[in-house]
């Protein structure tokens, strides 16, 4: 956190000053570790084993916040007897279809609701459908059977207990390399700080998501937080520290292929042929909870897009909406570009030639377009790849024949344009323009608005039906100044929504009408312009209001600072403790009150119980805080919603030097793979030849640089602080591989080779995993060929294998070889790589997805040792490595 979020880290230091204990778990000792009371080294990619160990510690010792767990989570809910756990099936849950490598979720459902899980999970994976659940839970209908004594063998609590029974401190040590005493220290501290009086917050950075099991990492964290009663309470929660400004905003008002604003799904051609189908799929008729009003949100969005043209008669122009036909995610798109299926590409503030996994594929794809538009502050690698990339050196891109026409458009920076940022806590904060942008630099808003305006003017008068969607758009924003800059506040006003007849801004999404009399661009943002005031621009100092500071900025939904804050009171509506008082039931006035905006129907008493057949909001009981979930409960066990299982399970990273010690199933059996010759995966056990790539590597940030480096390698005063690409290695590995401090080394995977200066440091340590010594190396990913300081991009080492729920790539852990000296250059580089692939047995071969043996006999560990001794690979290296192991 000190590395990537130094400004936020001031609050950790403040807490430390007040006596807080800081524990840091990280594969390498960072600037955060330097200030921590306790540092815990861990093998990259084993977080579920570590956190699962803590779940087991809580359950085995009955340390959970029992009252909270019984009342507010689904711990007591009974699951169907068709369910089989990974413990029974060697790492697979029941319902696995090896042909489609996805699950039929019917056997995961609550007892009596077995018909719920009938979704096409393979299609859900291709469309990253899990992202929709960011604002609401997936469906579950009707009443569920519960056993509040938690003794029923099929209740969630008991299932959880069995599932994690083998995640003992000894197993954590074997899998993660974390010494038992250190693990116990973390578990004890977490539990001790989670009571009626105290809460613990889990804060992760988005590197946690960049794993083939990233969603399940975060779910494991959420399970612990729920068991300890840390959700919906002040000082609790699970928070993501984002990689740069407004990443939360970019999923709320998404820049994603599969979502529309407010987490409405992008229509799918097969699932949503009609407007009714689309609305129904969002609404889930018969469903309990707040999602029942989805139709109004959908109508208001379409009205915001097409204004007067959108009428009830034409289904509010629903047929103008593009339809998904499958996976249109960024990696599929890149491979489509390589295959010549994509003509044009816009890059707005993104530098995939450096910042995205599998840099070679990114660059080869961009070299095979008709046109590419790059808008950035600086001339970045993604605009110059056609003349100076690695592929030009190897002859794979010939500048004189590269067909892509690149349009580089200079962009205005954040201080040169007004707008809002939405941060991790869903807080919108407005920023003013400080200075005029120089020269031709323009804002994204200016670019999008005028691009639309010009396209529309070129199409004006067209009678072709396909042009109607563009021509009917409500594209009428007021502009100002010499460059006709659109008014950003007018856009925010439209996002907020208003009554069309009077243009009165809506104060809440409950005012949205499904009849077309209101419009609003993003239902969850409704209220940000309540009373015609830009609420995001409020900056009342903290000293002039209560500590929740409701008058600083504006948080969705409805300015709530903590979601599900009904859980900060006990089932009767009383605060759990005076110290953690936040939102409570005021019996005299008959309403919920507190420091924050209550996340509950204001006058629904704690004693309210729904009728058996109640649906929608009325179906939520007065002691069910999780109002966006179908059963009003927080889910320890997810009967649907997560495509890779109802419970997080430790799978090895897709590339790992060790066999999964817990299950025959080595890696996530539902991961999204692209099995193409240009996207090989390094072998992992039980496949042979894993020892060709014996080391674990991980990448992350330096404080001194920003993401792909476009905004820091180009700035003198930042560039000089970390002026060159380097790789951090432990002294033991330096000895093993003959690396010298500040000498050159190169790293090899089946996709690419990069060279870097060596930084030998005690801050990295070898780990003992399954009795073997495992070395990890660390690289910053900021470097590329442009700017004042240059270096080879670490992300070139990764391939594209994705988490099935959200299609995020595994780019925080992989295996590689590390060799002293510089890499081969020119076409020799391709031969060098080809030779590694040959020795790894990867010619035309992709590792199998399923390695579990559901009949109970595990396949033999580790294949035959690699007999081939390739050029430059010395027998002694491996011998010494194995001897140490």
């Amino acid at each position: 956190m000190a590395e990537a979020h130094p400004v936020g880290f001031q609050w950790v230091m403040e807490a430390k000053r007040r006596g807080a204990k800081v524990i840091h778990v990280d594969p390498r000792f960072t600037r955060t570790s330097a200030l921590a009371d306790s540092y815990v080294p861990i093998r990259a990619g084993t977080d579920i084993a570590f956190l699962g160990g803590i779940v087991r510690h809580i359950l085995e010792n009955e340390l959970d916040f029992r009252e909270y767990v019984v009342a507010y989570t689904n711990a007591a809910t009974i699951v169907t007897d068709e369910f089989r756990d990974t413990e029974d099936l060697d790492g697979l849950f029941s319902g696995y279809d090896p042909d489609r490598t996805s699950y039929d979720q019917r056997s995961w459902q609550y007892a009596g609701h077995e018909t719920n899980g009938q979704v096409d999970t393979a299609t859900e994976r291709d469309t990253a459908a899990g992202l929709r659940h960011e604002s609401h839970g997936p469906p579950v209908a009707g009443q569920a059977q519960r056993d509040e004594t938690l003794q029923h063998p099929r209740c969630v609590y008991q299932i959880l207990k069995r599932h994690y029974a083998r995640y003992t401190p000894e197993m954590v040590e074997r899998v993660c390399g974390v010494p038992r005493e250190k693990f116990q220290e973390v578990a004890d501290a977490w539990v001790a700080n989670s009571t009626r009086d105290r809460t613990t917050m889990l804060v992760y950075s988005v590197g946690w998501t960049q794993h083939s099991v990233g969603v399940q990492y975060i779910r494991t964290g959420a399970i612990i937080q729920l068991l300890l009663g840390n959700i919906g309470r002040p000082g609790g929660g699970v928070l993501a520290l984002r990689g740069h400004a407004s990443i939360q905003g970019s999923t709320d008002i998404p820049t994603l292929f599969n979502l529309l604003p407010g987490y409405l799904p992008m229509p799918n051609h097969a699932q949503h042929p009609t407007f009714e189908d689309w609305c129904t799929s969002i609404q889930h008729p018969g469903q309990k909870g707040f999602w029942g009003n989805a139709r109004a949100y959908a109508v208001n969005l379409l009205k915001a897009y097409w204004g007067a043209a959108a009428t009830p008669e034409n289904d509010f122009c629903y047929d103008y909406m593009p339809r998904m036909t499958g996976d249109h995610g960024t990696y599929q798109t890149v491979f489509n570009m390589i295959d010549g299926k994509v003509k044009g590409y816009f890059l707005l503030g993104q530098n995939p030639a450096v910042g995205s996994a599998h840099g070679r594929a990114q660059r080869l794809g961009m070299a095979n377009l008709d046109w590419l538009v790059v808008r950035d502050l600086f001339m970045i690698e993604s605009a110059t790849f056609w003349k100076d990339s690695r592929e030009v050196e190897t002859g794979e891109i010939a500048p004189e024949r590269c067909r892509t026409e690149v349009f580089f458009l200079p962009a205005a920076s954040h201080v040169e344009k007004p707008g809002s940022f939405t941060q991790t806590q869903r807080l919108l904060q407005w920023r003013e323009k400080a200075v005029e942008a120089p020269g031709d630099c323009r804002s994204e808003l200016w670019f999008s608005y005028h691009l639309g305006r010009i396209v529309r003017s070129k199409l004006a008068g067209s009678t072709r039906p396909r042009d109607r969607a563009l021509l009917d758009l409500a594209w009428d924003y007021p502009t100002e100044g010499p460059h006709a800059e659109p008014d950003a506040e007018a856009v925010l006003r439209e996002i907020n929504g208003y009554e069309i007849a009077t243009r009165r801004p809506l104060a809440s999404y409950v005012e949205m009408k499904p009849d077309g009399s209101t419009l609003g661009g993003c239902w969850i943002y409704t209220g940000v312009f309540a009373d015609g005031v830009n609420q995001a621009a409020r900056r009342k100092p903290g000293g002039e209001q209560n500590w929740v500071a409701l008058e600083w900025g504006w948080a969705w939904p409805l300015n709530r600072r903590i979601l599900y804050n009904r859980a900060s009171a006990d089932p009767e509506g009383r605060p759990w403790s005076d110290r953690k008082r936040y939102v409570w039931w005021d019996a005299e006035r008959g309403e919920w009150t507190g420091y924050d905006v209550p996340d509950f129907e204001k006058t629904k008493p704690p004693t309210y119980r729904p009728a058996q057949d109640a649906v929608g909001v009325a179906g939520i009981a007065g002691d069910d805080p999780f109002i966006m979930q179908g059963d009003g409960k927080a889910w320890l066990y997810a009967p649907s919603g997560a495509l890779d299982g109802p419970l997080p399970t430790h799978y090895e990273p897709v590339e790992s030097p060790v066999r999964n010690p817990l299950y025959g199933q080595q890696a996530n059996p539902t991961r999204k793979v692209y099995e193409r010759p240009d996207n090989p995966t390094n072998p992992s056990p039980p496949e042979p030849h894993a020892d060709v790539f014996p080391y674990v590597f991980t990448v992350s940030r330096l404080t001194e640089h920003h993401t792909a480096g476009g905004m820091s390698r180009t700035v003198r005063h930042l560039a000089e602080l970390q002026p060159e690409m380097f790789v951090e290695v432990a002294p033991e590995l330096a000895v093993e591989r003959g690396l010298t401090h500040l000498g050159w080394a190169h790293l090899v995977t089946s996709r690419g080779v990069i060279e870097a200066k060596v930084m030998v440091t005690d801050r990295l340590t070898p780990l003992r995993i399954e009795g073997r010594i495992i070395h990890q190396v660390w690289l910053p990913y900021h470097f590329g060929s442009a700017g004042l300081v240059t270096g080879e991009p670490a992300n070139d080492l990764f391939g594209a294998t994705l988490d099935p729920n959200v299609l995020i790539q595994e780019s925080k852990v992989g295996t590689c070889d590390v060799r002293p000296g510089r890499r081969p250059t020119g076409p020799d580089l391709l031969d060098y790589l080809a030779d590694y692939r040959r020795r790894a047995g990867l010619d035309g071969h992709h590792p199998p997805i399923v390695t579990a043996d559901r009949d109970g006999t595990r396949p033999a560990d580790d294949g035959a040792p690699d007999d081939e001794t390739g050029p430059g690979r010395q027998r002694t290296d491996r011998d010494s490595h194995e001897r140490e192991g």
Binding site: F9, Q10, P41, P731, V735, H741, D762, V789
Partner: protein, 349 residues
């Protein structure tokens, strides 16, 4: 030693310099126990004061690529990696891992050979011969000084378990008795009404006398320019009632700016707190008006001996002995003159 340490009584140096009824003396308290090494101070300083870059070279000294306080770096964050415990650690960071003996001779030699010319004087010069560092890495060799090994490379161990990573933002100390100011022949260096020491770039003639005069090796001449440059404690900002750029940018309040008396009180309380929290190594540096420079306007809370951070343990104002030296030189000259005169007088005519 018979020589009294105190050079003069502790006075407000601004008053001593002739400022009538000056404002309170202002300074920095840099608390290294909360420094996270983000280098925001370095960047903010350079941005505000238009300081040029100091070289795009990887130094290999942990995360320190600035190297030293120079004409082109007025704040310098030092990074000290050592196989020693930090006071607040509840357990050794690498305990229980299969870490082996430390660095090899080869890697230590490479490390020692990496100091490079900063383009400034004195800067950091390339090591002439990296072999001694390699010899040191091969085994412990006590040379009577702490920190002879490379960061993190000292002591013979089978497995390394302890590790600390100290960070410290260094800066001009703005001494009460500033030798740079004493030796400046042009009056370019002057004492401000806030008690700070500032070089005036339009007056400095580049004579360089101030450079060897500084007991901390702070002030430095810029290559290709010749003039001397250093921290001004943002004279232009504090005159307008604002905070110096580095203190403003520091996210963890490691750099605190304020009235020196108040900072000293705050610092003492902080040290007491750290001692109570089980960090007995915490100590102040440069806070004492009785030290060899009469106390610093910019003082520090350190977590080990000053030498660990590259600071002199007992700095003395280099002009302290000048009056005595001049007296003796004068006496010698007088004696010689008398002898010469006597020689002539005593000559038979």
């Amino acid at each position: 030693m018979a020589e009294p340490r105190r050079t003069t009584a502790p006075v407000n140096p601004a008053e001593q310099a002739g400022h009538v009824d000056p404002p309170p003396r202002m300074g920095f308290f840099t608390d290294t126990s909360v420094c996270i090494g983000c280098k925001a101070c370095e960047v903010a300083c350079k941005e505000w004061n238009l300081v040029p870059e100091s070289g795009l070279d990887l130094l290999g000294m942990s995360y320190d690529n600035t190297g030293a306080l120079t004409a082109n770096s007025w704040r310098h964050v030092a990074f000290v990696e050592q196989a020693r415990p930090a006071g607040w650690q509840s357990s050794p960071p690498m305990a229980g891992t299969p870490s082996g003996p430390p660095i090899t001779r080869a890697t230590a030699e490479a490390a020692a050979g990496t100091a490079v010319d900063q383009g400034t004087r004195p800067g950091v010069l390339p090591a002439p011969d990296p072999a001694p560092a390699g010899a040191m890495a091969a085994g412990s060799q006590f040379l009577g000084m702490p920190g002879t090994g490379l960061p993190g490379r000292d002591a013979e161990r089978d497995g390394r378990t302890d590790l600390r990573w100290l960070m410290m933002s260094d800066v001009c100390k703005h001494c009460t008795h500033a030798a740079c100011l004493d030796v400046c022949p042009t009056g370019s260096l002057f004492r401000t009404e806030f008690g700070t020491v500032v070089v005036q770039e339009d007056i400095c003639n580049g004579c360089g006398y101030c450079v060897p005069a500084c007991p901390y090796g702070v002030i430095d001449q810029r290559s290709g320019d010749g003039r001397a440059w250093k921290c001004t404690l943002c004279y232009d900002r504090i005159g307008a009632g604002r905070m110096p750029a580095c203190a403003q940018a520091c996210p963890t309040e490691s750099i605190q700016y304020g009235e020196l008396d108040e900072l000293r009180d705050r610092a003492r309380a902080r040290v007491d707190r750290l001692h109570a929290d089980g960090v007995p190594e915490a100590r102040l540096y440069g806070h004492d008006p009785d030290d060899g420079v009469g106390g610093d306007g910019a003082f520090f809370l350190l977590l080990d001996e000053p030498e660990v951070y590259g600071l002199p343990p007992d700095p003395v104002v280099t002009t302290r002995d000048l009056p005595r030296m001049w007296r003796r030189a004068g006496l010698a000259a007088l004696t010689m003159t008398a002898a010469v005169v006597a020689a002539f007088v005593g000559r038979p005519s």
